[in-house]
């Protein structure tokens, strides 16, 4: 999706307004409001965009509101005179971050290698976490992580910019993960490993055979009781829980990733929570979950 010139996609903005570019790398989830829409006509109201540096958005949009490019030279006195205007502009803005993602995706569609690198950096932890939740084996999750990014590079031409890049990325990852499970462990698509061998999960099995690898990758998760209980759920329930609670996706986005209706997402979510609670109560009776 095209984004407002001077804020994200404009080449001059990126080169001459580097603080803003750096700030886009770390982002929060916020929503485009009417004020930001007025300043940036190419954005749609309500669109979720990532986090960006408060100061940079504040400055860039305030300058644009005055019909100036962010890279324009402004004398100190004139800049001081603009402070009230800037504050007025900034006060009504929602802070966003999808702008940066949109920018990188647009550049990736033009074959920009740096944009791909930036997206890998931005999504590395979330994508890996999702894949690990689905396949449960760190080594397999790492392979799928690499394959997913290769698939992104191959299919970016087919990506519809009107769709959420995040949903598209997770859809690719999910398809690869499900194909992998179907090929390697068909039974794991329906039931947790624990059902066949006294509650032992894939993660715990890996721990006993490859303690070093698992320790290195997910030591914190292993120590978590809820993480172990999550591992014991069927894949369709694990993935819906991780997409909702860890990835914090909207239900509509989850439906897009899973390619199911919204009602099915809700049903899976409720069943997954029910089963997780039962599993927790059976495995760790009397313990609180805080």
């Amino acid at each position: 999706m095209p984004v407002a010139p001077g804020i994200v996609t404009g080449g001059s903005a990126q080169h001459n307004f580097s603080p803003s570019r750096r700030a886009f790398e770390t982002h929060t989830n916020l929503v485009v409001d009417k004020r930001l829409r007025r300043l940036n006509p190419d954005l749609s109201v309500g669109k979720r965009i990532g986090r960006q540096d408060k100061f940079s958005l504040y400055v860039s949009n305030s300058f644009i509101a005055q019909g100036l490019r962010p890279c324009s030279w402004v004398s100190p006195l004139r800049a001081l005179a603009r402070i009230p205007l800037m504050i007025g502009g900034a006060a009504t803005m929602s802070w966003e971050s999808g702008l940066a993602v949109d920018s990188d995706v647009a550049q990736l569609r033009r074959g920009d290698l740096d944009a791909l690198s930036s997206l890998v950096t931005r999504y590395q932890n979330r994508l890996y976490r999702y894949l690990l939740r689905v396949v449960r084996q760190p080594a397999e999750a790492e392979d799928l992580f690499q394959t997913t990014w290769i698939r992104v590079a191959e299919r970016i031409g087919q990506y519809d910019p009107n769709r959420s890049f995040e949903a598209w990325l997770f859809t690719l990852a999910r398809n690869l993960a499900i194909d992998h499970l179907r090929r390697i462990r068909p039974a794991s698509l329906d039931e947790p490993l624990g059902d066949s061998d006294g509650g032992e999960t894939g993660a715990s099995r890996l721990r006993s055979s490859e303690p070093g690898a698992y320790e290195r990758v997910a030591s914190q998760e292993r120590s978590s009781r809820i993480g172990e209980s999550l591992d014991a759920l069927p894949v369709v329930q694990r993935e819906v829980l991780t997409l909702r609670f860890e990835e914090e996706m909207k239900l509509e986005e989850i439906a897009e990733v899973l390619n199911v209706p919204l009602s099915t997402v809700k049903t899976r979510l409720r069943r997954a929570l029910d089963r997780l609670r039962v599993t927790m109560e059976v495995r760790f009776p009397g313990e609180t979950w805080q």
């Binding site: 074959g111 590079a153 609670f245 979510l269 929570l273």
Partner: protein, 161 residues
């Protein structure tokens, strides 16, 4: 079953979804109203909320840096290959179209050189040229299709290898 009990059961089913933030506005209002009156459901809701919070606080496993770097490098190579291939395809298509236009235009140029301007208005020339255009287009399209199929086949072979 009384209406109150029925509503109580209905709300209990919604509590898990409420913890997941998956209720619509109407359901949220319904749940909020019921929770003000029902201590059992309020306690249940507290349990679901704790479970939801625990899920949100799960530590994020991180991929090894070497894996990320390898993924980045491989994806960049594939992206570069993919765009190079697209560029090559475009260039070849343009060259083929250019060559075909040159071939087609060669006849009127030949007629112009041998028979003068009058030769271009000859009925036989137009008739013959029409068939020449059709014939060469068919041949070139068939050749292009064969090249495309060959390319797809060799690409699949490389992928399988």
């Amino acid at each position: 079953m009384s209406d109150a009990i029925r509503e109580h059961e209905k709300i209990r089913e919604l509590l898990a979804l409420a913890a997941a933030g998956a209720l619509d506005e109407k359901e949220e209002q319904l749940v909020a109203r019921h929770l003000r009156e029902c201590e059992t459901c309020a306690a249940e809701q507290e349990t679901w909320s704790m479970l939801g919070s625990a899920l949100r606080r799960l530590p994020t496993p991180q991929p090894r840096a070497s894996v990320v770097e390898r993924a980045r490098a491989q994806a960049q190579i594939r992206l570069a290959e993919s765009f190079e291939q697209r560029w090559n395809t475009t260039v070849i298509a343009c060259l083929v179209a250019f060559a075909w236009v040159l071939t087609v235009m060669s006849w009127p140029v030949f007629k112009l050189a041998t028979g003068g301007v009058a030769g271009l208005f000859d009925h036989d020339f137009h008739h013959g040229w029409f068939w020449f255009v059709g014939f060469t287009a068919t041949v070139w399209i068939a050749g292009g299709a064969a090249a495309a199929l060959l390319s797809l086949y060799s690409r699949r072979e490389r992928r399988l290898a």
